[in-house]
């Protein structure tokens, strides 16, 4: 372990990696500070820039964007009351009233320090939990793996969708997209209909950029009036009071640790990222508080809970990715894809075959959180200007970056046509209220699910083996329970409407 740690550290602590990581931190904070631009989009745009880098350097840069992005959403949440990213939704509840009450510096400092501590706690959990989990995961057979993927897709559908059926359909559409092109076992062509563009299959990254980035960018211009106007910011002198804020957080560690643990656990669940963690951590903090009525009026506990909760999902989400090869969120799916671009197979053997890479990632997380802290505290006033960039300037420019990213992957013009089709389909699905996260997970998990299903049945053609192996059965039962829970939740929420 020590050898791998030192090897990983040797690759992270090089001048070029640290410089790129620093730039990544700044880019993540800037991107997430712009309302409407998510952490996922920032990571997608960074990806093509990392193709030419060594794998660990590339992923370290993306982790910097990731960690920076979770904090950047705080800026517009605190000062404008608009969450820069969905993961900063609960931050607006208390940070915005605090800023309006004349303490914008305190609100920002609380958020930045809570994000820093949240990321550190989640990284510690990641370092402790991922290696033993991977050792167990190596012993899983194809039956368990297939069942794990079924569970991952049902739980994400039940967590993120307003309608369970549409969530499940989105996951199945993702799996269906993954079946286009050569089959993963024998390489037999499927569903290309003689079209050259479809013959090699649909590249995951192009699908991802089209589904997430293009659809989001296009939906940003739906409101013509908002596109053509700007929003004024609070840019008067801001006093950050760092020492007072650190004391405020550390003297009340229970809220910080509880919110971070919530973030880690939510992050480790497939599909449930920062957008759920911040609300859940905020809710838990409110329930545990002796003065819950003060939440929403601008109290520090609310800011700390939300920001520690969303930032802790970064480490939590990496646990299933590193240990099982199952991404915890769309962002983790992109990180996973970036390793695959470099020919590194992501699965439970990752930590055994590429231990230096994994331990390097752990170190990169710590370095990234330190960089985020330094960047935020040193230049927060400058970042405040970022939220003033109008949509008319940024939307077309980012669309061009998406085009470049899609082309740079394979140098194929046909991928650009695909990007157009998928962007349009993504916007249609988004408008029709289909959740996009299960779809993306379906695309990346499809070939893994198919390979494991076929391997399982090659070993034993009996389908009931999926039910007679205890771990596989447990996962399938968990999948059924997650669907049942979502149905129960839906019925419960619609009950007052029916009776009222």
């Amino acid at each position: 372990m020590l050898d791998s740690l030192l090897l990983g550290a040797g690759q992270i602590f090089t001048l070029s990696t640290l410089v790129f990581m620093f730039l990544g931190s700044i880019a993540g904070i800037i991107a997430a500070a712009i309302p409407g631009f998510t952490v996922t989009m920032a990571i997608i745009l960074t990806l093509p820039l990392t193709f030419a880098m060594p794998p660990l350097q590339g992923i370290a840069v993306m982790l910097s964007v990731y960690v920076g992005g979770y904090t950047g959403g705080l800026i517009s949440a605190a000062l404008l009351g608009i969450p820069g990213t969905p993961s900063a939704m609960a931050t607006t509840f208390d940070a915005f009233p605090m800023a309006r009450a004349g303490q914008p510096g305190r609100a920002l400092s609380l958020g930045v320090w809570a994000s820093f501590f949240g990321t550190l706690i989640s990284t510690a959990v990641l370092i402790v939990a991922a290696p033993p989990l991977a050792i167990i995961a190596v012993k899983l057979g194809p039956w368990e793996y297939f069942s794990l993927i079924v569970f991952a897709l049902t739980i994400i559908a039940s967590l993120v969708a307003s309608s369970l059926l549409r969530g499940l359909m989105a996951g199945a559409i993702g799996l269906a997209i993954s079946t286009v092109g050569p089959d993963p076992m024998m390489g037999r062509p499927r569903f290309d209909f003689g079209v050259e563009m479809l013959a090699p299959g649909l590249p995951f990254l192009v699908v991802l950029i089209g589904i997430f980035a293009i659809s989001q960018l296009v939906s940003e211009v739906e409101d013509a009036r908002a596109v053509r106007s700007g929003t004024a910011l609070t840019t008067r002198d801001i006093d950050f009071q760092n020492w007072a804020v650190i004391r405020e957080i550390v003297m009340r560690p229970v809220n910080l640790v509880r919110s971070s643990v919530v973030g880690v656990l939510v992050g480790a669940l497939p599909g449930a990222g920062g957008s759920i963690a911040n609300l859940l951590a905020y809710d838990q903090a409110k329930r545990a508080s002796k003065t819950p009525e003060k939440f929403g009026t601008g109290i520090p506990e609310g800011v700390v809970a939300s920001e520690a909760g969303n930032s802790a999902t970064a480490g939590g989400g990496l646990i299933p990715m590193i240990a099982l090869g199952i991404p915890g969120s769309a962002v983790d799916a992109i990180l996973m894809a970036s390793l695959m671009v470099h020919g590194i197979s992501v699965g439970p053997r990752l930590i055994m075959d590429h231990a230096d890479l994994v331990y390097g990632m752990f170190i990169a997380m710590v370095v990234a959180s330190l960089m985020m802290l330094v960047v935020c505290l040193a230049s927060m006033r400058l970042f405040l200007r970022v939220t003033e960039i109008p949509k008319w300037a940024i939307v077309p420019a980012v669309i061009v970056c998406c085009v470049v990213g899609s082309f740079a992957l394979n140098n194929r013009v046909t991928d650009l046509y695909l990007l157009g089709f998928i962007g349009l389909a993504g916007y249609a699905l988004k408008s029709l209220d289909y959740p996009l996260a299960p779809l993306v997970l379906g695309v990346i998990l499809g070939p893994i699910a198919e390979t494991n299903l076929r391997r399982a049945l090659q070993t034993d053609a009996d389908w009931t083996v999926f039910l007679t192996r205890p771990v596989s059965l447990l996962l399938l039962v968990a999948a059924v329970l997650s669907v049942a829970w979502a149905i129960w939740k839906h019925k419960k929420s619609s009950l007052p409407n029916e009776t009222g």
Binding site: A172, M186, V221, K391, P396, I399, L457, Q458
Partner: protein
């Protein structure tokens, strides 16, 4: 149950439900077609399932989900909602005229890009898209021009010289 007169928002909500119903029908039709298409994929003696089995499983599940969604949607819809759908869709599109125009520009850009080359096509796309969206003032027009140059010719130069990625040069 709605007791008062229908508001525009109610009608828009119902139109959304109709649009979702149509999407379920489209998904059902496509998945049923591809389910049978997958059945015609050849099997192998070395592989119990063959290349078509997993797609059949996926499209089968998708078709069943779409069917369940159709049944659920039909139960909650008024017949009059279908009649209002055309007008509501037009209204939806009119309110999103910027989206429609931006998507049209994006489509033209992607079609022209391989012929004209990355830099000229991107420059024109950026100018057109920004002119579509921006408030027309001398300062914003100047900023748009600078952005168009930076993200077309500048980006091309950056990728070629730093990352060794050569963006399409055009066929003319």
């Amino acid at each position: 149950m709605t007791t008062g007169p229908e508001t525009a928002a109610d009608k828009r909500g119902e139109a959304g439900e109709v649009a979702r119903l149509l999407s379920y029908v489209a998904i059902l039709a496509v998945s049923a077609w591809l389910f049978f298409e997958a059945g015609s994929l050849p099997t192998s003696r070395w592989d119990v399932l063959g290349a078509g089995a997993f797609p059949q499983l996926v499209f089968g599940v998708l078709a069943l989900l779409a069917l369940a969604a159709i049944v659920g949607a039909l139960r909650g819809l008024r017949p009059a909602a279908l009649a209002d759908f055309g007008a509501a869709t037009l209204d939806w599109l009119k309110r999103r005229y910027l989206v429609v125009a931006l998507l049209a520009l994006f489509g033209i850009y992607l079609a022209v890009l391989p012929l004209a080359g990355f830099s000229p096509a991107t420059f024109v796309f950026l100018l057109a898209a920004q002119f579509l969206l921006l408030p027309r003032r001398p300062r914003t027009i100047a900023v748009a021009l600078v952005l168009a140059v930076v993200f077309s010719f500048g980006l091309n130069e950056l990728f070629a010289s730093v990352f060794n990625v050569f963006l399409p040069r055009g066929g003319f």
